[in-house]
């Protein structure tokens, strides 16, 4: 039983009820049942007016009318349809062509076009990517320490980059090959630009897919190496991996960009998880190169070591690009192999966490799948099982195949 102050008693006045309703509701909250004593109501005179739009009567907040009418329970399904939401975006990712055929001035068997996205990745059924993401598989120009799970499949070819490249294409189905010229590092072997170019030449002869050239990270040395290779492989539409703001600072960016333009190659701009830096680098590159020759590496961090930063920066970049930020309208690349930096990928752990030979490849796979969903256009990979899974997933995500509910409807009762 509750009492209402006399002056607020409703007298059939709608406004009065409207004013007192919030307070009435406040008093009623949590009350399961109301007993009205000594109240005579003339039903004919009573008109219950519930104002709308006050924000008070909201089933979501747990704040609701506890009494009045018992809802009439439906006995049949209330129809409701669904028409998928679709958003048109003003921006579009530029298309970048990698590799050139004989007709285009190179020696590759086909051209790979990456980018072109005009919608968020894999968001809307019936809207497959303009150009499906492609996989590049790594080759190194020297003996490097690799996790056992990876080494097992490639140890016979590790001494010969050309053979290694051939294995990547013929056995693992690589769309592209990355030749990492690690040995050019002044702190490692300091291999000369001329010798590095010879290695690249041997890879170009061994396989006919587009090639990515990986440098050593030294802004001076990379510039010398890239310029030498750009000239040697004139017209091949190589992707030079990578150019950086460090190079701009060291004044070595311009020669590389000019060489790329002159000899018809593309460049990969690398920045460390900062979109403003990525935009700044692109602006510098626009001075020398058509935007259709620029790909972005926004940094891929291993699962468990900051993958969420990479994921979010890729989602942000892609969405900003689709909304019209032209400086971010470039295809992106992700080094999924960085997953192996996580100790959970390569380390022997307690038996309940399983063998590293399966844990590691899954780590690389999940790193790649996560950034695939963020819109990455080129995935740089190594482990055959990871390559196979990502390839299958890309294929599945690119086609529209109606599902059959009967296949899974019995899951609750299935013996597995």
């Amino acid at each position: 039983m509750f009492e209402m102050p006399e002056e607020q008693l409703p007298k059939g006045n709608k406004n009065m009820i409207r004013e007192s309703l919030p307070r009435l509701l406040g008093l009623l909250d949590g009350v399961e049942k109301i007993e009205l004593e000594q109240v005579a109501l003339d039903i004919g005179d009573l008109e219950f007016f519930i104002p709308t739009g006050t924000g008070q009567v909201d089933g979501r907040t747990g704040f609701h009318l506890p009494v009045t009418t018992v809802p009439v329970k439906p006995t049949t399904l209330i129809p409701a349809g669904f028409s998928p939401y679709k958003e048109e975006f003003s921006g579009r990712i530029r298309e970048v062509m990698l590799g050139a055929t004989r007709a285009g001035g190179g020696s590759r068997s086909r051209v790979l076009t990456i980018g072109g996205a005009d919608a968020p990745p894999f968001a809307f059924i019936g809207n497959p990517p303009v150009n499906p993401p492609v996989l590049a598989v790594d080759v190194f120009d020297m003996d490097i320490s690799l996790p056992r799970a990876i080494k097992t499949g490639i140890k016979e070819v590790m001494a010969d980059p050309a053979e290694w490249a051939r294995l990547n294409v013929n056995k693992f189905g690589a769309d592209m090959v990355t030749i990492h010229l690690m040995s050019t590092d002044p702190l490692i072997n300091n291999t000369s630009p001329r010798d590095a170019a010879r290695t690249v030449e041997s890879v170009l002869q061994a396989v006919d897919v587009p090639i990515i050239i990986g440098g050593c990270g030294d802004p001076h040395k990379d510039s010398l190496v890239f310029c030498e290779i750009a000239e040697m492989a004139h017209g091949e539409r190589l992707l030079l991996n990578s150019v950086t703001l460090d190079m701009a600072e060291a004044k070595t960016l311009e020669p590389v960009a000019r060489a790329a333009k002159k000899h018809n190659h593309a460049v990969l701009g690398f920045t460390g998880l900062e979109l403003n830096k990525a935009k700044e680098l692109n602006r510098r590159l626009y001075e020398y190169l058509p935007p259709e020759s620029i790909v972005m590496d926004l940094t891929t961090v291993a699962l468990g070591y900051g993958l969420e930063y990479s994921f979010t920066i890729h989602e942000r970049a892609r969405y900003a690009a689709l909304m019209g930020d032209s400086e971010l309208q470039h295809p992106t690349i992700s080094a999924s192999t960085n997953a192996w930096a996580a100790r959970e990928a390569w380390m022997k752990m307690d038996a309940r966490f399983g063998a590293r030979d399966i844990r590691g490849p899954l780590w690389e796979t999940l790193n790649a799948l996560t950034l695939l969903l963020a819109g990455v256009d080129v995935l740089m990979m190594m482990h055959p099982a990871a390559i196979r899974t990502v390839r299958e997933t890309v294929t599945n995500l690119t086609k529209h195949e109606p599902v059959n509910p009967d296949r899974i409807s019995g899951w609750a009762g299935a013996r597995i």
Binding site: G306, F353, L362, T370, A412
Partner: protein, 478 residues
């Protein structure tokens, strides 16, 4: 066809003033903040909830409390599963993209048990699930719930298994059968645990709704591959009076993962872009359906389940039911789930400075690392495990790991040099040797030039620190 709802302000559009004007505005500081405006700001940033304002619970602020709830209500409702301290909250999503606002309520991962398991196997499986844990950057990651499935089509077997599970663990429960009679039997004795009823569908919805109302339990609404039917069921069940609904749009792993991810995504775009209130409920993903496959290799199925689970964590699932208990399947899920639910604006970092391990003296080694939390805690636990006595200089790299910090120039010779100087490391030790991470080896020459200290390149992974110190310390000419 879509409900014509006036879009309310999104969490990004709500200003601290909107919250402030509904608060008591007494600046009582009971919440721990210096004033009501500061509290309002942190609420809008998602760092505090309005329930953390004690006066707001008073009768006099009841209306304001309700208004605040309505103002801050997420477009994807929150549903609680379980009772008491072990209850879990799912859903409560404010945004489509993580970069817009922190995702709330990390997706719980439930593992299944079936009622055909012999008692011993059941006990073992429950123990495996309840005990599974991994220590990650100082936090313990665990599994969150158990889904009991009726595979024998026998009400008493189902009820007996549920009771056995409930007796062994206080993890929240999900009861899985589409037969209302079996569900009724299973619910009867453990309804106080407030399990999630899984599931109502086109055929059984009114019987399941009656159970959900009778026992006040949340209810899964299942319509695999048919969002229109899903909306119809939600509309009907809402009219029926069931409020806590979880949506199962169907999880198809192989083939069908593409449709599954796009269905989840379409639902969320409808909620956030079209203000579709009917679909504004948490989403259930069931990677377990990978096991309904003719594939023979269990590892292959588990691998597919792992991939599906990870992609569903990325794409909008609010609750997962899985089958594999293999650590290699679950570990990456727990880590990714933890990661993607962190605040995107803040690097996970620790305070920079010098840490001491053991009781170091003037001859103890000096190691350098970054202030990325995972790097730091990994190094710390390796040093402690091996009982290494040393100083560890933690450098402010903006919370970025060594490899990325070197690549992105967040860890540079100058930063190392400045840290050695600013933290007066030269007064802590009498030698001038600094051990830098193996992944920063390229910085060694320039660091020597910048700091005047001799650089020793340490191991690439901190698990090698103990051996490295054993082999290299003290340096010959020290």
């Amino acid at each position: 066809m879509m409900a014509a709802v006036t879009p309310k302000k999104t969490i990004r559009e709500i200003s601290p003033i909107d919250v402030y004007r509904l608060l008591p505005r007494t600046n009582c500081r009971e919440c721990g903040e210096s004033n009501c405006m500061a509290f309002a700001t942190r609420v809008v940033n998602g760092e505090l909830t309005i329930d953390e304002c004690p006066p707001l619970r008073k009768e006099e602020y009841h209306t304001a409390h309700g208004d605040l709830n309505a103002l801050l209500a997420p477009p994807v409702r929150v549903v609680a599963i379980g009772a008491g301290s072990r209850s879990i909250r799912i859903g409560g999503k404010h945004v489509l993209f993580r970069h817009d606002f922190t995702y709330h309520n990390p997706v719980p991962i439930a593992l299944d048990v079936s009622d055909d398991l012999p008692a011993k196997d059941l006990a073992d499986r429950i123990k495996t699930i309840a005990d599974f844990s991994y220590n990650y950057i100082g936090r313990t990651l665990t599994l969150d719930a158990i889904a009991v499935r009726s595979t024998r089509n026998d009400p008493s077997a189902f009820a007996a298994t549920i009771k056995a599970v409930a007796a062994r663990t206080d993890l929240p429960l999900i009861l899985c059968t589409t037969d209302p009679a079996i569900m009724a039997e299973g619910l009867r004795d453990i309804s106080v645990r407030r399990p999630l009823i899984c599931a109502a569908n086109q055929e059984n919805w009114n019987a399941m709704a009656d159970l959900a109302l009778q026992y006040n339990c949340p209810l899964v609404v299942s319509a695999p591959g048919d969002i229109g039917l899903l909306r119809s069921l939600v509309k009907t069940l809402t009219a029926y009076g069931v409020r806590d609904l979880v949506l199962d749009p169907g999880t198809f792993v192989d083939p069908g993962i593409s449709e599954t991810l796009q269905t989840f995504t379409e639902i969320r775009w409808a909620v956030f872009r079209e203000h579709d209130d009917i679909l504004g409920h948490p989403l259930l993903g069931i990677p377990l359906t990978a096991w309904l496959s003719s594939e023979i290799s269990r590892n292959t199925i588990a691998w597919k389940e792992a991939c599906a689970a990870s992609m569903l964590i990325t794409r909008y699932a609010d609750l997962l039911i899985m089958h594999s208990t293999e650590g290699w399947v679950l570990l990456p899920q727990l880590i990714w789930r933890f990661n993607i639910y962190t605040d995107p604006r803040k690097p996970v970092s620790v305070d920079p400075g010098v840490r001491e391990f053991g009781t170091p003296d003037k001859n103890s080694p000096v190691l350098v690392t970054t202030n990325y939390a995972l790097t730091y805690f990994t190094v710390e636990s390796d040093i402690k495990a091996a009982h290494v006595t040393c100083y560890l200089v933690v450098i402010d790299t903006g919370g970025i790991s060594v490899e990325s910090a070197v690549a992105g120039r967040y860890l540079t010779p100058d930063l190392i040099s400045n840290a050695l100087r600013d933290y007066h490391v030269d007064q802590l030790v009498s030698h001038r040797y600094v051990i830098i991470p193996g992944l920063a080896s390229r910085l060694s020459g320039d660091t020597e030039d910048a700091s005047g200290w001799k650089v020793i390149v340490g191991p690439k992974d901190s698990s090698g620190i103990a051996q490295m110190i054993l082999d290299n310390w003290p340096p010959e000419r020290m």
